[in-house]
Symmetry: C2
Subunit: 235 residues, 2 copies
C-alpha cells in the first residue's frame, strides 16, 4: 500500500494544501493519473467548490482530481482509479456518506491492490482502524465507526498541546487518555499540524517540522521526530 496521511489542509495564513503540496506532487509522480476525489466530509460548502479548491492546488503540478459525486457508477470509478484522495471536513459525515454509497469496501480493495491513497484531516482519520480519534462533532450517525484500517494505529489529526486558558473542558491529551483506556491495544499518533505520515509497503516515515506525540495505554508517552524510527507502529 501507498498512503500519504496529512494532518491538516492548512493552518491560518497558509494557502489550501500549500505546505503539503510538494509532498503530494512527489508522492503522485510526474505521470498524469486518474484521481478520484472523495468530497463527502464537506458540510457547509458544495462538492463542486471542494473539488475546485483541490484542483486549484493540484493543477500546479499537473494533476487533476474528479470528484466522485459526478460519477454515474461511483464504485466502478473507485475501482478504476490510480489514486484516491479523501479531503477533510466532518469525519462522521464522510463515513456516513461513504457507507451509504457502498464505497468503503471499494476504496479499501482498490488501495490494497495498489492505488495511491492521500487523505488529510478526516481523510487521514478514515485510513485508521476506526474514527474513534477524530476531533469532529458527531453531527450525524454513521452505521459503524470502523474505517479503512489501512494502518493498524490511530491518528489524531490537528494534534495540539495548547488549551484555552480558564476552560474546564478536556484537553486533547485527556481525550486521548480516555481513548487509550477504552482501547488499550492501540497506538495513537498525535499528528501536529503541518505533519504527514507516509506509508510505502512496509515502510513508514514522518514528514514535517514537528515531532509526533505517540500514545499507548500504560506506556510512557513519547515524542518522535521526523527521520526517527516509526516502524513499531506497523507491527
Amino acid at each position: 500500500m501507498r498512503l500519504l496521511l496529512i494532518s491538516n489542509s492548512a493552518s491560518p495564513g497558509e494557502g489550501y494544501l500549500e505546505k503539503a503540496s510538494k509532498h503530494i506532487q512527489e508522492f503522485l509522480g510526474k505521470q498524469s493519473l486518474n484521481i478520484v476525489f472523495i468530497p463527502y466530509a464537506a458540510v457547509t460548502y458544495s462538492y463542486e467548490e471542494y473539488e475546485e479548491k483541490v484542483n486549484k492546488r493540484f493543477a500546479a503540478f499537473g494533476q487533476r482530481v474528479v470528484s466522485i459525486h459526478r460519477a454515474q457508477r461511483p464504485i466502478e470509478s473507485v475501482l478504476r482509479a490510480d489514486a484516491i484522495v479523501v479531503g477533510g471536513g466532518n469525519t462522521f459525515m464522510l463515513m456516513k456518506k461513504m457507507q451509504e454509497m457502498g464505497l468503503i469496501d471499494a476504496i479499501r480493495e482498490r488501495v490494497k491492490s495498489g492505488a495511491a491513497y492521500i487523505g488529510w484531516s478526516a481523510g487521514s482519520n478514515v485510513a485508521c482502524p476506526t474514527i474513534c480519534t477524530t476531533n469532529d462533532m458527531p453531527i450525524v450517525q454513521p452505521r459503524t465507526f470502523e474505517a479503512f484500517n489501512f494502518v493498524p494505529f490511530q491518528i489524531n489529526p490537528h494534534y495540539l498541546d495548547t488549551h484555552p486558558s480558564n476552560h474546564g473542558g478536556e484537553t486533547r491529551e485527556m481525550r486521548i487518555a480516555e481513548y487509550l483506556v477504552a482501547n488499550p491495544d492501540k497506538w495513537v499518533v498525535g499528528l501536529r499540524e503541518g505533519c504527514i505520515m507516509k506509508v510505502e509497503g512496509n515502510s513508514i516515515n514522518m514528514i514535517g517540522e514537528k515531532s509526533a506525540r505517540i500514545f499507548k495505554h500504560n506506556i510512557e508517552t513519547k515524542e518522535i521526530n521526523p527521520g526517527e524510527d516509526f516502524q513499531f507502529l506497523l507491527k
Copy 2:
C-alpha cells in the same frame, strides 16, 4: 419534568461542582431524597471515586447519591429514585454503558413521571434528543446517538468563543454550523461554562453570569441573557 442541565462541573481554580452547588441544593429541596447517580461517563477514574467526589459536594447540603454501579437491580433502582444525577465525562462511553444496561428507557420513564434530573456536561448532553452536539472524542461506539429527549433542543456544553491561535482545526462555532446544516430543524444552545438551563414543567430559564449563544440553521445567531425569554426552545 424537572431538569437542571449544567454546562460543566468546574472551571480551573474552582472546586468540583462549586458554582453549581447552591442551585443543585435549591433544586433538590431540603428533604433527604433517594438519589441515583449515573457514573458511566467516567473513563480514567473509578465509579467509586466519582461517587465520592459528588458526595463530598452533596454532603454540604445534606444529600447523598448512591451510584448505580452498586445496585443489584439497576433498573429497579432507577424506577424507585426521587432524583437521577448524571455526571460528566465521556458522552460516548456514558451512552454505551447506559444502553448496555437497559437504563435509557428506565431513566426516561422515571424522569417523565416526576423524578428530578440533574446532569452536567455529558449528563446535559444526554438530556437532549441526541448526543450530536457533544465535544467529546468518540472513543467507543454507542448503538445509537439518540438520547433521553427530555428537551427538544440540543445543548453544546462548555461552549467557548476562543480558539487556539494559529490552529487550523474547526472552531466551536464552525462545528455547530456543520451540525445545523445536517440537522436544520434543531435549536442548539451554546451553554458557556458556569451556566445552567433549568426546566420545570413548561417553563425554562437560564442561570449564570454569561449569555447563552443560540443557533439555528438560517436564523441569525443570538445571545440571550439569564432572565430573558428562553421559552421558544421548548416549542
